[in-house]
């Protein structure tokens, strides 16, 4: 069974934000929520790199561990999903998440949080696959259609890679060997407790 992961090759990312837009459009993400974002490190300085970041679908996910109502679950592919029916909007997963992935729609005054929303790896939620209920709560389920997440699929420089961890790691490794440099697989150590050694 594949272990699905994300890998952002920062040496290729041109900060075009197409992944962000693709995600918002494909999943009808509500206003104010960004399931994916592009962060630029050392902006305007030598060595500047941009990294597209969303939920990394961690191994032994911190969000899953701290959830007081245990609303997270793993798919057979290692994708971390959650149930919006069970979520109580406590905000704990955001405190635990290394990547700032969980987001909460504002449902009332002050800081009252609604049901948490995050990247689903375009794999929907606990509802039956490809139903209207699933789409309304979680967005697209491209995995059920045999497709990969749209953010990675339409990345113009193929900086953002999605797929089986071993395959995308091999692709990244090959690139680094060919071009002679690479700033590393951002977040892999934190998310998967492994790095790609070239």
């Amino acid at each position: 069974m594949a272990r699905l992961k994300f890998l952002c090759d920062a040496d290729r990312c041109i900060e075009c934000n197409a992944c962000v837009t693709a995600c918002k459009n494909e999943n009808e993400v509500p206003w104010g929520i960004n399931r994916r974002r592009v962060v630029t490190i050392n902006d305007g300085k030598p060595g500047e790199r941009s990294i597209s970041m969303a939920c990394m679908h961690c191994t032994d996910a911190p969000c899953k561990a701290v959830c007081p109502v245990d609303c997270f679950y793993n798919t057979a592919d290692g994708i971390v999903l959650h149930s919006k029916d069970l979520c109580i909007g406590c905000g704990y997963c955001f405190y635990a998440c290394p990547f700032g992935a969980p987001q909460y729609p504002r449902v009332g005054n002050f800081g009252s949080r609604g049901k948490m929303d995050k990247c689903t790896y375009c794999a929907g939620g606990p509802e039956p696959d490809l139903t209207a209920a699933e789409y309304q709560k979680y967005g697209a389920n491209r995995i059920a259609e045999g497709k990969l997440p749209l953010c990675a699929e339409m990345c113009s420089t193929k900086s953002l890679l999605a797929g089986d961890g071993e395959i995308i790691a091999a692709i990244y490794k090959e690139r680094v060997l060919k071009r002679g440099y690479g700033s590393g697989a951002w977040g892999w150590k934190t998310a998967y407790r492994e790095t790609i050694d070239v």
Partner: protein, 343 residues
């Protein structure tokens, strides 16, 4: 003359330089055809995750969306917070609460219920007027619900979830969250009112030293003198006020997320809130025990507000004396059942 010499020398140097350049170009040619960009090496300049993590324990950059929190790419403090929330807090909370229950059970078995030694006198004295009782029960009822809903966040998924199933547990937890959020306001009001009505009576005095020296009458058979509040009650009062205030402040930080706080601030607020919450819960368990099961006649003080005179003489001798003095000054008979003001 010197000028010509100089020129001559200059031209000689120029020729030498030209020759060196030509040589260098010839040597560099194969290398240049091999890799056109050999001079540019982005690896040496690229910002790397490990360096940033080692320097700051987090990676922060710039984002083009309004959410400032999104600029933090990776924060590893979340892992520490997770370890605290899942292990440290569970252990501390478990030991504090179960430990307190165990201590109380052992104490009850050893010491039994503390009786009024002289027996009931049949005459009562007003200990807490209606407003004092109202403030006590306002704070107390809020605290019970806040404590239970708080414990649900920490322990519910291990204890209650397997019993009632995910849907029912989630519905309950959602209701508990709202109760926890909204009851914080009357609880805080109760704390403020308690401070104003009881703070003066709870200022430590020399009598408290004797009280502690004699084990408060809890350990041993002594009945150390005490005013309206004994040293133990004073300690409880200040614990409730100070720890309660810290819990309230950290709770409001959590209730208004990211209003002037960062994620580190939110994590810290949660650590303080959870830790003090379980500790205060353990302390209050002791308070509930001594006010109900642990001591005969104690509940009346907060029940109907009137305590038996013999109970009052045994536990709060100085306070009774004070009340009697006040009654005489006011020209009334000594300690009539109802006409004595509580303070």
């Amino acid at each position: 003359m010197t000028r010509t010499g100089h020129d001559r020398r200059w031209s000689a140097r120029g020729i030498a330089a030209a020759l060196t350049m030509l040589l260098a170009l010839l040597l560099a040619l194969p290398a240049a055809t091999g890799s056109a960009f050999a001079q540019v090496n982005p690896t040496t300049e690229a910002v790397r995750e490990e360096q940033l993590m080692q320097a700051l324990d987090r990676v922060t950059g710039r984002v083009s969306i309004p959410d400032r929190k999104a600029a933090t790419l990776i924060q590893v403090e979340g892992q520490e917070w997770r370890a605290y929330h899942e292990r440290t807090l569970a252990w501390i909370g478990g030991i504090a609460i179960l430990g307190m229950l165990a201590v109380l059970a052992v104490f009850f078995l050893v010491r039994g219920r503390i009786r009024t030694e002289a027996g009931p006198s049949g005459r009562t004295i007003v200990r807490f007027r209606w407003f004092e009782r109202f403030v006590h029960w306002l704070t107390a009822s809020c605290f019970v619900i806040l404590a239970l809903s708080g414990l649900n966040v920490a322990f519910g998924k291990s204890l209650l979830l397997p019993l009632i199933g995910p849907e029912a547990f989630s519905t309950f937890s959602m209701a508990a969250k709202y109760a926890h959020n909204y009851l914080s306001f009357p609880f805080t009001l109760g704390l403020v009112l308690m401070f104003f009505i009881w703070a003066l009576r709870n200022i430590p005095s020399r009598v408290d030293v004797t009280w502690f020296a004699q084990g408060g009458g809890i350990v041993g058979k002594a009945h150390p003198p005490a005013g309206k509040f004994n040293a133990g009650q004073k300690m409880l009062f200040w614990l409730v006020i100070l720890v309660g205030a810290a819990i309230a402040v950290s709770g409001y930080i959590l209730l208004f997320p990211f209003y002037g706080t960062t994620i580190a601030g939110m994590q810290t607020a949660q650590v303080v809130h959870g830790l003090l919450g379980v500790l205060l819960t353990a302390v209050i368990l002791g308070h509930i025990y001594i006010g109900t099961l642990g001591m005969e006649g104690a509940f009346d003080a907060m029940g109907n507000g009137e305590v038996d005179l013999n109970w009052a003489r045994q536990h709060h001798s100085l306070w009774v004396a004070e009340e009697e003095r006040k009654a005489t000054v006011e020209g009334k008979r000594s300690v009539p059942p109802t006409a004595v003001p509580a303070e």
